[in-house]
């Protein structure tokens, strides 16, 4: 089952604009991660934010986490054509012992128009 839900499902913006994607999840988490996937290929890790962090930056990326609302947002500033891809949030839930893997949402498909 999918724990996270990204919003919007699809987003089309002009090159140079900022893109914001949101993610909501259901259960308590250890951390939340964002991944990018180009056209059905492998996923690329973008950023990880731990449950005790509220904001994190990496280059043109800014991620926020609100554990009280069980939500996160990914902001991509000054978008480029190469940012066109699907973006997934993934949560790692607290586990008593074993590994439960990452739980991914359905993704936001981002299109950057030149």
């Amino acid at each position: 089952s999918q724990q996270g839900e990204e919003d919007p499902q699809a987003l089309s913006i002009q090159e140079g604009e900022n893109a914001t994607m949101n993610c909501s999840y259901k259960t308590s988490i250890n951390n939340l991660q964002w991944y990018r996937q180009n056209s059905g290929r492998g996923l690329v890790h973008l950023i990880l934010i731990r449950s005790n962090e509220r904001e994190k930056h990496s280059g043109r990326l800014r991620v926020t986490l609100d554990t009280s609302k069980k939500s996160s947002s990914l902001l991509i500033t000054a978008s480029r054509a190469a940012d066109t891809a699907s973006y997934f949030c993934a949560t790692e839930q607290y586990s008593g012992g074993g590994a439960d893997g990452l739980t991914f949402g359905k993704g936001t498909h981002l299109i950057i128009q030149p």
Partner: protein, 114 residues
Amino acid sequence: DAGVTQSPTHLIKTRGQQVTLRCSPISGHKSVSWYQQVLGQGPQFIFQYYEKEERGRGNFPDRFSARQFPNYSSELNVNALLLGDSALYLCASSWTGMNTGELFFGEGSRLTVL
């Protein structure tokens, strides 16, 4: 350094057949995870192996099995294939098996079941 490598990249099987997918992790990574991604969905966790032991299993039937070898490479086996097993199978490696942390994905094996 080589990333995560998967083989084969594409394969076509018929219902009832069996398939074996292979994965080589990044050098030094001891944990391998397998994910299934159906078209239009986010990846779903199948297995995690660490130091040759199964550390976690997702909600998949017993037709799915995996193992990890002494060199940390891994195989995913699916028996009695169903049409619904058609998907992109992703392998990911990481440093540790204690928490999932950041995952490094391969390009995937695209399985089509006819």
